[in-house]
């Protein structure tokens, strides 16, 4: 069972529908016991970084996520959920993240339209099982105003171009992030979720 961390952020039903479609059992939850019983965790997210961290903290979830991932359990952060994996964000001031991945989150440059909204292409950097059957230049759906701006190059699996290089898929062992919405990215997104599902035991 995949635990989808349900901390009240926007549309997460679509994610559950997408997982169900490919035969993965998923449960929306904030219950630490259910999260501990899961085989994998997804941290979704839309909205503001600081609010999201505050809500996670209210439910004591940062500690649970750190404990579970330290045992090697896969965690996939989607959109804001990916940004939350990092050390800190400069959205509305400065806020600490979950500090699971090294790096920071900043606003997308004002030289382009913000939010970065729509279908953009992936450029792969590292070989990874997450990219099984995902073509270079495949389109996925992005919608975000902030992006990971500093990161460890080895963690970058795939990127897109929008006022520079935007990390699109990142991974360090069992910690993974997708800046776009795989549940809204057609057949490509479904394949990416399947690739994540294949890691779960």
């Amino acid at each position: 069972m995949i635990a989808i961390i349900d901390y009240g952020a926007g549309n997460i039903k679509s994610l559950q529908f997408a997982l169900t479609k490919i035969g993965l059992d998923a449960q929306l939850t904030t219950d630490p016991d259910i999260i501990r019983q899961s085989t994998g965790m997804i941290l979704p997210g839309v909205g503001a970084f600081r609010d999201a961290m505050n809500t996670l903290t209210e439910f004591d979830l940062p500690e649970v996520l750190r404990q579970e991932t330290s045992k090697g359990k896969p965690l996939l952060g989607i959109c804001l959920g990916m940004q939350l994996l990092y050390d800190k964000s400069y959205e509305d001031g400065e806020s600490d993240g979950l500090e699971l991945l090294r790096g920071e989150v900043s606003r997308i440059d004002h030289s382009v339209k913000v939010p970065h909204m729509g279908w953009n292409t992936l450029t792969h950097h590292n070989e990874d099982s997450l990219l099984n059957n995902i073509a270079d230049n495949a389109y996925v759906y992005f919608v975000h105003s902030y992006a990971v701006s500093s990161y460890i190059p080895d963690d970058l699996i795939s990127s897109t171009q929008y006022a520079g290089t935007v990390p699109a898929i990142v991974r360090k062992d069992n910690l993974m992030g997708m800046q776009f919405h795989p549940e809204k990215s057609g057949a490509v997104g479904i394949q990416l979720l399947q690739n994540f599902g294949a890691m779960l035991s």
């Binding site: 549309n11 339209k113 939010p115 909204m117 729509g118 105003s145 919405h181």
Partner: protein, 252 residues
């Protein structure tokens, strides 16, 4: 490279997709969930549902359609019509929609845009503007389905909408809507040139070339249309081939 988006729009009345002309003469077209599935398979980049009745007693039927659609499609979709409160927005997003489109209610209560953008994030708050020409290079915002002139300047309202936190702006040109003679290029370009959020053109699509035109000459980020898609006057795969041949980046 970021692709230009093609967005079929479905007006939903009492559980059915309908089509009117200049907001009048409503005709029944199809089942919304089935039509949404078809567009998803044909390569639409997003979908829009507009609840055109938006009466209180019909709301549960509409929410049920939103949820059933979310279960069937794997592309983003926006829901508009009758959204007046944070609670309405919350309900729509929880039912599985990705964005909400706010029109009349934003004019009457601009704080709805700012409050919802803070609560749910700008990326899911779309400001929809019905605009009608009132003079050279001059457009007013109309509300209540195009029946009431607010005397607000459409360009100023778009700028204010961005400032309040809308993450996208839909420009619906009342003058060209339903005529299938092309989008209102002047209006679309004027708004796209004055905001730094994505702009969706709406009202007037009749052919592939109209869509190419609004995406290039008027700098729209996306083109929205209804009946040309419902009645297969424009087929999405052929449209995308055409746009690609004309040097416009689209997802295929």
């Amino acid at each position: 490279m970021l692709a230009k988006r093609i967005i079929p729009c479905m007006d939903v009345d009492k559980g059915r997709v309908v089509k009117g002309h200049k907001f009048r003469n409503i005709r029944d077209v199809a089942d919304p969930v089935e039509l949404a599935k078809r567009y998803n398979e044909e390569g639409a980049d997003e979908l829009v549902f507009y609840d055109i009745t938006a009466s209180h007693e019909n709301r549960p039927i509409f929410l049920d359609i939103v949820e059933k659609t979310a279960a069937e499609i794997d592309i983003p979709f926006t829901v508009g019509g009758g959204i007046r409160s944070i609670r309405d927005i919350h309900q729509i997003l929880r039912a599985g929609a990705d964005k909400v489109s706010i029109n009349s209610a934003a004019v009457q209560n601009p704080a709805l845009i700012s409050e919802s953008a803070i609560k749910f994030g700008s990326q899911c708050i779309v400001l929809s503007i019905d605009a009608k020409q009132t003079g050279p290079q001059k457009w007013h915002v109309f509300i209540k389905g195009g029946r009431e002139d607010t005397s607000l300047d459409a360009i100023e309202w778009a700028k204010q909408g961005e400032h309040l936190g809308a993450g996208e702006i839909v420009v619906n040109a009342i003058d060209t809507d339903g005529d299938k003679n092309g989008y209102h290029l002047e209006l679309t370009k004027a708004i796209a040139g004055n905001v730094n959020v994505p702009v969706v053109a709406s009202g007037g699509a009749g052919s592939d070339s109209h869509i190419a035109e609004v995406l290039t000459k008027a700098d729209a980020d996306a083109a929205l249309a209804a009946s040309v898609f419902h009645y297969n006057k424009i087929q999405i795969p052929e449209l995308k081939d055409y746009l690609n041949q004309n040097g416009i980046t689209v997802r295929r």
